[in-house]
Symmetry: C2
Subunit: 332 residues, 2 copies
């Protein structure tokens, strides 16, 4: 059987993770990379074609992808790239702006349906695996309520979005933000209280900040803790560090999270379901989930399906390289 | 929209749990019960038709089920009932004899396909939710290996199969068996060792036994700890108790379990995924999972699907009563 031909669109940390993951897949092959920065990528990747993402006629003819995995960001890249690239191939992306998912779905669904392609959107671990676990908990434990917590380990979870937000503040040269779950909040959910939380009840935020020369720490602190949405609703701790301290202390992209749901099947019989994941590298984790969805996209396309899909629309067998016989015999 | 018409086949603890669960479902209604012991069930259920399971012509005409939920046992009931009842309606069952799943699938698939019905088999929490979590972990964390542990809480998990096995021993009047996970084994998996366990490395067994008058405890102990498959491979503790002590101490049907899988996305970047569930009542938990699958069976049938299915074949949306718009907006 011929392998699923995959192209990576965008070669940052997630794109690199997709490349690593594809090496482990028995039924898929990486055929090339498309990028806005062809020259930059070519310095790093010498054994594969690297083509400009803007020249769809060229890359689609030369690389003939079954699936393009979009590894760009949700803010600027994906809302534009998803509906464009699905005209040429099936796509998979990790669009993670929760509040805009319905609108993005509509736009992508129209474009992919018109093109006769499959576009799986918003996958990774949240949205993605966590979405699936929330829906399963709701379906299998009627009346339960699912909560998501992030950063349960001692160092917390690195939030790229909040780190970026810190770096937009005047006087901040570099920064990392770690999210911490509040253990007492998790225990309240586990006890079945199904509490009404405000965001600050569930998580705290820890910032490591390198000041620009001459910046006033009190002024920077004031700006951080007052930042609407990002920090104002949270108990926020700030450590001012040197660039080399930041580099030493804040290595890699660790993250972890928990979906927890509690309910009862009858008076006196409580239920609890928890899904927990811990990722040494958040972008590599996202990459592996994207790759499993690329397999699903190819299979859905082979069945002449078209339009936009999420993880909620796809049976587990579609993600797995294993045969039906093997799954029935060893995995049920 | 008309509600999904459900019939319960077999009214034991799981059947009672299905009835409770159906009361919470906005889109389903219980239309009747079919049973081998109609008179027994009628004493407990006065507000619903109760018909003999053997008279398929009568119950199928009178109850007109969209789905029959089979609540019998895997040993004697389901292998016979599944292929028979699927001739008259879509079915859902919790067949849990792991080693016979491939053969049962073949038999059920042939019968359901010929009849033009959908038969979802082997659902519940294991096989069922745990099967799904094993396959997802394998797909999303290539190279990981998933392990199942049971009875993590201090009292362990009640195993009906092992309790039944104890009661077959001469000199045993009544008994309950609790399974305990070995914490060190879980920690080895969490650390990413991916160890090769024998069954006794993962679990211990704790038995509460009421002796028959005149029975010799030493002789009963010898028979229990030597029982192949059930107890011989395990570190087994036996408590001899009175019937009233057993009744007091061993209330209800609590159970819990953990699927844990560990791997790495690249050198130095470890991953861990865990699914844990805790059920105050094991049969009620199974019942709720069966009911969500009955919804899926009705939807698959409405799409003119036919044949046998497992949880691995079904998208999460099919289990949920929520609309697509609601799922996209609030659950992704």
């Amino acid at each position: 059987m011929s392998k699923i031909r995959v192209v990576i669109a965008g070669f940052g940390n997630v794109g690199r993770g997709v490349r690593l993951s594809l090496e482990k897949q028995p039924d898929m092959e990486l055929c090339g990379i498309i990028s806005r920065g062809v020259e930059r990528v070519k310095k790093e990747v010498r054994d594969l074609p690297v083509l400009p993402i803007s020249d769809a006629a060229a890359w689609s003819a030369q690389l003939r992808p079954d699936v393009v995995i979009l590894c760009g960001g949700s803010k600027a890249d994906l809302p534009k790239q998803g509906p464009e690239i699905c005209r040429y191939a099936n796509t998979v992306d990790s669009f993670d702006n929760h509040s805009e998912i319905p609108q993005y779905f509509e736009k992508l669904n129209s474009a992919a349906t018109a093109a006769g392609h499959v576009s799986i959107m918003s996958t990774g671990w949240d949205p993605g695996i966590f979405s699936l676990e929330r829906v399963l908990a709701g379906a299998f434990m009627p009346g339960s309520r699912a909560y998501g917590f992030y950063g349960l380990g001692p160092s917390g979870g690195l939030s790229m979005g909040h780190s970026d937000a810190l770096r937009t503040i005047e006087g901040v040269l570099d920064a990392r933000q770690y999210t911490h779950a509040i253990p007492e909040a998790i225990e309240r959910v586990r006890r079945g209280e199904n509490p009404d939380f405000s965001p600050g009840d569930m998580h705290t935020r820890e910032c490591f900040v390198v000041l620009a020369p001459g910046a006033d720490p009190a002024e920077v602190t004031r700006k951080i803790v007052g930042m609407p949405g990002y920090f104002a609703p949270y108990d926020t701790t700030i450590h001012f560090v040197t660039q080399s301290e930041l580099n030493d202390h804040c290595k890699g992209f660790p993250h972890d999270g928990l979906v927890v749901a509690s309910g009862r099947t009858s008076e006196g019989n409580a239920t609890l379901a928890e899904y927990r994941c811990v990722w040494g590298s958040n972008p590599e984790a996202t990459a592996n989930v994207l790759v499993a969805h690329a397999r699903a996209a190819a299979r859905l396309a082979a069945e002449k399906k078209r339009g936009a899909f999420t993880i909620l629309d796809i049976p587990a067998t579609y993600f797995s390289p294993l045969s039906r016989a093997e799954l029935l015999q060893h995995w049920m």
